[in-house]
Amino acid sequence: MTATGYPAGQPAPQHLGEVIVEARGLEKYFGDNHVLRGVDLDVHRREAVMIIGRSGSGKTTLLRCLNFLEEPTVGSVEVDGLRVEADPLRARSRAHQEQIRQIRLRASMLFQEFALFPHMTVLGNCIEAPTRVRGIGRDEAVTLADKFLDKVGLRDKRDEYPARLSGGQKQRVAIARALCMEPKVLLFDEPTSALDPELIGEVLKVMEELAHEGTTMIVVTHEMHFAREAADRVIFMEDGVIAEQGPPEQVLNNPHDPRTRNFLRRFLET
């Protein structure tokens, strides 16, 4: 098995493009706690990768390392041609910070708790970064925001403050806000875990549409049904390494690794 997740010699599925995210040898310590123990990961353009595993398996840490919200202890991440080496001792140097910022422009993160800016309207949330970081004019940013708010079905809420939205609406605005930066990859960190059950569907629907349209995404999730529907590849993590990966039918229905089987059995029981 290669880092691409597809067996050696066997090419990735036809509809996928070239490799756009390339992580090598990622390791992360929190103090003495060895959370990531060497992860290689390749993600292709237009691929939807879902990461599953029990809590504490390192899946969220892996995702956060991909755009350096956590600085890996060692390893490198390349996104769309920009390669950044982990450098924890000089993590705050200006040059390194700027590289990390460039990585984040390519790979945007969505959070479990949405993290909309409460002091700005929905529209304000969406145009803040485009106008201040991408240097596009306000009018253009608003057009862009309207387009993506339309996509998540919330254009009529553009003048509301986040406090007046439901959890599902907040997460959809957060998705629109990320799309306004037109990143190459979307990283989702358990995007539905903080939602009431009846609100999960609307968020997953938006994500599924994005996946079908060919948005490259890496999703940490507990929604097995969603993974089965929308994933090109499912990764199962355990003890800080990728224990098993492959097409969803294989990993979810017919796992080779006993740890995967054990996890899925317990997961389906609860």
Partner: protein, 279 residues
């Protein structure tokens, strides 16, 4: 019930709805009466207590109307100086507190050490000592300040240290996910702070800053020791010379009280307005 039997009035459906509404009305009205009664008692207690103290002091204290009318306006004129000194010192304190908070949260050892030393030193010594130090002690080192600048600097410096901790707590109270979301959108650090963290921190600290301003108005009485002609200085001056200290100090106290009530009122308004966006 007369006759002992249960008199049939109607089915639940026939009488239920209007009766229920009437009961609700009655409960609401009773609650309103109770609140009004509470407010009435409350005001009564205040008036009686303040009245007793006033009458006692008036009768026992040989207070002259003439003093109140001739020297009252002079004392009152000190309120302007009190407000001026407090307001300028507050602006200075807010600036110092913002810098101090950034220092206390900085990973730069030098910046952090300077800010921590400032907070420790200023909070560890009495404000009165600081006022003396700046106005009476520094001239020996050829640093001579006029009274009003010295008083403003002492108050601003002192409150800046206390408010450093308020700002630090306010900045830390902004959820980490807010920073991270801004970073994930590619905002550079200074914009993350200026556009996302600071506005939310300011909202959090406004009540505490308001409290400190009210406290500053009262602590500004301490600068009377360096002959700044504010409320207390004027009250003690005319009070002593006319042998009417009781009336003079009482007037000053009442003016401080009224000033703090006025500012608390505006602070309350401001807080309510700031909170509106959260709903």
């Amino acid at each position: 019930m007369a006759g002992g039997g249960v008199q049939r009035v109607g089915t639940i459906d026939e009488i239920g709805v209007p009766t229920r509404a009437a009961i609700l009305d009655e409960i609401v009205a009773a609650q309103r009466r109770r609140r009004r009664w509470f407010r009435g008692q409350f005001a009564f207690v205040w008036i009686v207590l303040v009245g007793i103290v006033g009458v006692f002091l008036w009768s026992a204290g040989r207070i002259s109307w003439e003093f109140i009318f001739t020297s009252g306006p002079y004392i009152l004129g000190g309120a302007g100086v009190t407000i001026l000194v407090s307001a300028v010192a507050m602006v200075m304190a807010i600036g110092l507190a913002l810098l101090g908070a950034l220092g206390r949260l900085s990973v730069n050892a030098i910046f952090n050490a300077v800010a921590s030393l400032y907070v420790s030193l200023v909070r560890g010594t009495p404000l009165l000592v600081q006022i003396w130090f700046i106005f009476y002690a520094l001239p020996q080192a050829d640093i001579v300040l006029d009274a009003i600048p010295a008083g403003i600097i002492a108050l601003g410096f002192n409150y800046g240290a206390y408010m450093t901790e308020i700002f630090r707590a306010g900045i830390q109270a902004v959820p980490r996910s807010q920073r991270e979301a801004a970073q994930a959108l590619g905002l550079p650090e200074r914009l993350v702070f200026r556009r996302i963290v600071l506005p939310q921190a300011v909202r959090i600290v406004i009540p505490a800053i308001g409290n400190d301003f009210v406290a500053m108005i009262k602590d500004s009485a301490l600068v009377s020791v360096i002959a700044i002609q504010e409320l207390l200085w004027r009250a003690t001056r005319v009070g002593r010379s006319e042998r009417q200290l009781l009336a003079a100090i009482a007037i000053a106290a009442v003016v401080y009280w009224i000033l703090t009530i006025i500012f608390s009122y505006f602070q309350d308004k401001l807080e309510k307005r700031m909170a509106r966006g959260d709903r």
